[in-house]
């Protein structure tokens, strides 16, 4: 019987809803106005612009600003695709990706896609300089200033011991996307350390954050520009200077990482398409400070990439104008 009553109730509710609909509670109709529609005019000349977004905030900053300008000033339909580097490069060949706007080295990928397959072309530098190396938390550099020279690392090896490092000092490596020579470096510089693989950027950042907050000993692989450095300004450890060719033989590397001139790569098809978005990508260039500002908006102030880009563009219209010339 209870079920009986219940179903009447359902029926009554249905009739109420029907009545509601018939009395034309109305409101705006879909497609009547521009709410919810973000397509702006002029999209004909630019068309669709497929922008790869690699998974780190610095890249996101580049992509956000380029996408914002392409959409607002050029009227492109920007499709952002969240992809890891390998897969983004693969997309050049399949026509699913037009541009990668912050590339760290990747000589192997350049050889494969630019030289061999000829599906990608270089689109110039972003103006950002990428550093890779070993970093310590600021408190450690302050209390033991000599630690920022590799020569004194063995002296402190015992302090860096962890449950993972098998009695030696721990050198924490992180994101497998970046190339690392650390095992060779440890061996060739005769350091009493063991490379432990954190396995992700998340793991590295969390470890450094913890080390700074709780005054723990930590030395690890890191890189800049990176938004985290605006939260905890890690200090770079000096390794033997990089000289051209000193990293030729992977087994025998005993020198610092080179400074990476970060660059942009586009698909060969996109470069020939005559799209104004290609010119924008080609002309885009800014400084590490610029990127850090936008990255901080996104990562620390938790703004959406669009809002972060808008804020930066409004404050730096002159730079944007130079790209659009």
């Amino acid at each position: 019987m209870a079920g009986h009553v219940k179903h009447w109730r359902v029926g009554a509710a249905g009739i109420a809803v029907l009545a509601l609909a018939l009395t034309a509670c109305g409101g705006a109709k879909v497609g009547d106005d521009s709410s919810g529609s973000d397509s702006s005019g002029g999209s004909a000349e630019c068309g669709t612009f497929n922008l790869a977004v690699n998974p780190w905030v610095g890249y996101e900053a580049n992509a956000a600003v380029i996408a914002y300008v392409a959409q607002k000033d050029l009227g492109c339909k920007v499709v952002k695709k969240d992809l890891k580097e390998e897969i983004a490069w693969q997309g050049f060949g399949t026509g699913e990706v037009d541009a990668v706007v912050e590339n760290w080295g990747h000589d192997d990928l350049k050889k494969k896609y630019i030289t061999d397959q000829k599906t990608a072309v270089d689109a110039g530098l972003t103006g950002n300089k990428g550093l890779i190396g070993w970093y310590v938390p600021p408190w450690l550099a302050k209390e033991h200033p000599d630690i920022t020279d590799w020569n004194s690392l063995n002296k402190y090896a015992a302090e860096f011991k962890t449950s993972e490092s098998g009695g030696k000092g721990q050198l924490l490596d992180g994101d497998p996307s970046f190339e690392t020579n650390d095992e060779a470096l440890v061996k060739n510089l005769k350091l009493d350390y063991k490379v432990v693989y954190g396995g992700s950027e998340t793991a590295l950042i969390q470890a450094f954050r913890d080390a700074e907050k709780n005054k723990k000993w930590l030395i690890g692989y890191f890189y800049e520009p990176q938004w985290f450095l605006s939260e905890v300004p890690l200090v770079k450890v000096k390794l033997p200077d990089y000289k051209a060719g000193c990293d030729a033989d992977a087994e025998k590397i005993a020198c610092d990482y080179p400074v990476y001139e970060l660059d942009k790569i586009v698909s060969a098809k996109f470069a020939k398409s005559g799209s104004p978005a290609y010119d924008l990508v080609k002309n885009f260039t800014w400084t590490n400070d610029d990127q850090n500002v936008v990255a901080k908006y996104i990562a620390v102030d938790k703004m959406t990439p669009e809002a972060a880009a808008e804020k930066w563009v409004e404050a730096n219209q002159d730079k944007v104008d130079a790209w659009l010339k």
């Binding site: 009547d32 919810g36 529609s37 973000d38 905030v57 992809l83 494969k112 962890t162 793991a203």
Partner: protein, 672 residues
């Protein structure tokens, strides 16, 4: 209500937990003999380890490759290079992609994405909520319909309506495609033993091969985006449906089929009129498992450009934004619970309806019609009016959830980290390190021999043979040493899973109230994407192997708990009463009656615990576990390590098959 994701067959079907009566004394004697044999093997191992330590350990540095790895790289490269000229691509993969892509785009434009001539999807939030509620009511009951409406509205309140609909669209498309293949294949495997035997290794492979390994090649075959994501999901979601369908067909009583045969039914008739209708209920559970498996892939699919909740999780974690990631993770959990309860209700509806009064049935038809009309009106309104199309509000609930999660995570990190470090160091130094060095520093042939011997002792000659083959292939992958490190982690994690499983399982099995309270938490732990809780875990335990173990325990323990709770509950009440009457204390009842009688469930829980732990190896690689997990992740990220990642993935599959066959054989013996 069945649990979310009670994947009774992680790998290979486990013959139902056998609650055998107490073994005869002969069996007890055999067990003592087996214990002696194990002790002898371990002792011999320790002695030889002391002598041979560090010799022939087959270690391979992180950046080093073997010829096999290079060969995998070359194959991968040549596929990519010939993509546009290869007829296989032009006429086969591209066609598949086209079909799947059309399906996905169609569903997306229906509920989540703007289409060419419309700024909003065809059906707005009100229509989707209406349809979901109506369908849940029609296939289930009014209670799950309410749950569905509440759950779907919650997505909107969280500010994640569109993301949720994208995830729903991909999940539904993937499950649809998976079932299209899975049900016929399952029926076939159910009818023929031979097909079943041939199919099982493939299913094992599909379920244990880490997705990271085939994600990059998939985008080569099927391009970036929805189609690839759907296909990756199908690969993972189809096996449970195939296995459960086969199981369902097999469990139809033989006498019924014989009766049909004797009445002169053709094969086709007996399939359509007898076998399928009688196994309907179990087949629906297969659908349920497929959906759960598909939802487990949401975050991984985001790595190859799939839209939806997974992308929100992945993006939030780039800036370690635990709150936002948790909010999106919660949506996934809610979606999983809603879909689970609806399919479970659908599978039990048939009986429920039969037992209820006829008058109810008489009313059902007109009510269904009325419901359909109301739903149609809702759909029409959500198609036409903006307020019914776009979820109103800013998603304020979402930001409150995010900030609450953030506060909680920070508090836990600040308050508990001293304690957690002590636990970590004790366990790592006391148990993990010695065990790992025993495995990695022994010569490979010694460990291999020990594994084979243990396989024979626990599982018999056949299991020993499988182990031998697996050991041989493991050596062939070139990542033996990493494999042993991963094995040490897996076994330690499984021990912890079983401790947790026995504790909570017994508690739940003995009290219906505890069961009702704990079950939603267990469901949530199983479907919450691990990425969400990795950040707080990293803060508590640092990037260490222990963090990986904890993550694996969180994911694997719920399955073990549920299986053990079931086992304890199935111990006949009369036996427990008899023991109580004989003056046994609660402790005695648990240790002398309930646990021994639930032995079958305990072995099954061990089997599933191991397989679930193994499926977290790759996630472990992201938080400091190193070894095979790291190899797979690195292979996904760096082209020159691709082959090694693939080899590491194969090694994980081999470990899985080996563990599975040994524990299954042991389970059969325990039941015998």
């Amino acid at each position: 209500m069945a649990a979310v994701m009670e994947k009774t067959d992680g790998l290979g079907k486990v013959d139902g937990p056998a609650n055998a009566p107490d073994p005869a004394s002969a069996a007890a004697g055999r067990r003592v003999g087996r214990g002696m044999a194990v002790a002898a093997i371990l002792l011999l191992w320790l002695v030889l380890f002391a002598v041979l330590r560090g010799k022939q350990t087959l270690t391979l540095a992180a950046a080093d490759l073997t010829d096999l790895h290079r060969w995998f790289n070359d194959v991968n490269d040549s596929i990519g290079a010939n993509r546009n000229s290869n007829p296989l691509f032009l006429y086969f993969f591209n066609e598949i992609r086209l079909v799947i892509d059309t399906l996905v785009t169609f569903v997306q434009e229906l509920i989540s994405q703007a289409s060419a001539d419309r700024p909003l999807p065809q059906i707005g939030w009100l229509g989707v909520v209406g349809i979901a509620g109506y369908v849940s009511w029609a296939v289930g009951n009014w209670r799950v319909a309410l749950l569905t409406v509440a759950g779907f509205t919650f997505f909107g309140l969280q500010g994640l309506w569109q993301e949720s609909m994208d995830t729903l669209a991909l999940t539904l498309s993937a499950v649809l495609v998976a079932l299209l293949f899975a049900i016929p294949l399952g029926v076939w495997a159910g009818l023929s033993d031979r097909v079943n035997r041939i199919m099982t290794p493939f299913l094992d492979f599909m379920q244990t091969m880490p997705t990271f390994v085939y994600l990059a090649p998939l985008t080569l075959f099927f391009l970036i985006g929805g189609a690839s994501a759907t296909i990756a999901t199908v690969i993972y979601a189809a096996p449970p449906a195939i296995r459960i369908t086969a199981h369902a067909i097999r469990s139809v009583p033989e006498t019924t089929v014989e009766a049909a045969d004797s009445l002169g039914a053709t094969r086709r008739q007996s399939l359509l009129k007898v076998l399928l209708p009688m196994s309907k209920r179990t087949v629906v559970m297969g659908v349920n498992q497929s959906i759960m498996a598909a939802l487990a892939m949401v975050t991984i699919a985001a790595l190859i450009g799939a839209p939806g909740l997974g992308r929100t999780v992945v993006q939030a974690l780039q800036s370690l934004d635990v709150g936002t990631a948790f909010n999106a993770g919660l949506s996934i959990v809610v979606m999983a619970i809603v879909l689970d309860r609806v399919t479970t209700a659908a599978s039990t509806r048939a009986e429920a309806a039969r037992s209820s009064k006829n008058r109810f049935l008489a009313w059902r038809r007109p009510l269904l019609g009325a419901g359909a009309v109301v739903t149609a009106v809702l759909v029409y309104m959500s198609h036409t009016y903006v307020w019914a199309a776009e979820f109103p509000g800013e998603g304020g609930a979402g930001s409150s959830i995010a900030s609450a999660a953030d506060t909680t995570a920070t508090w836990v990190q600040d308050e508990l980290s001293g304690l957690t470090n002590a636990v970590r160091d004790t366990l790592t130094n006391g148990l993990l390190n010695p065990f790992q060095s025993l495995l990695t520093d022994s010569p490979w042939w010694l460990v291999g021999a020990v594994l084979i011997a243990l396989g024979v002792v626990f599982g018999g000659w056949r299991a020993g043979l499988t182990t031998a083959v697996c050991v041989g292939l493991l050596v062939g992958t070139g990542v033996w040493s990493d494999g042993m490190t991963t094995m040490a982690l897996t076994l330690v994690a499984t021990v912890l899973v079983m401790l947790v499983g026995v504790f909570f399982g017994v508690w739940m099995g003995r009290s219906a109230l505890v069961d009702r309270l704990l079950r939603p938490t267990l469901d949530a732990a199983q479907v919450m994407p691990p990425f969400v809780y990795l950040v707080p875990f990293l803060a508590l335990f640092g990037p260490t192997r222990f963090t990986a173990i904890v993550a694996a325990v969180v994911y694997a323990a719920p399955v073990a708990v549920k299986i053990i709770a079931d086992g304890v509950r199935n111990v006949p009440a009369t036996t427990v009463e008899a023991a109580t009457a004989a003056g046994c204390s609660s402790w005695q009842i648990i240790t002398k009656v309930q646990l021994p009688m639930a032995r079958g469930a305990l072995t099954l829980a061990t089997n599933q615990g191991l397989i679930y732990v193994l499926s977290m190896v790759v996630v472990g690689g992201l938080v400091g576990a190193g070894a095979l997990g790291y190899d797979v992740v690195a292979g996904f990220s760096q082209g020159q390590l691709y082959g090694k990642g693939l080899a590491a993935g194969l090694a994980i599959v081999l470990l899985g098959v080996m563990f599975d066959r040994i524990t299954q054989a042991a389970a059969r013996r325990a039941g015998a």
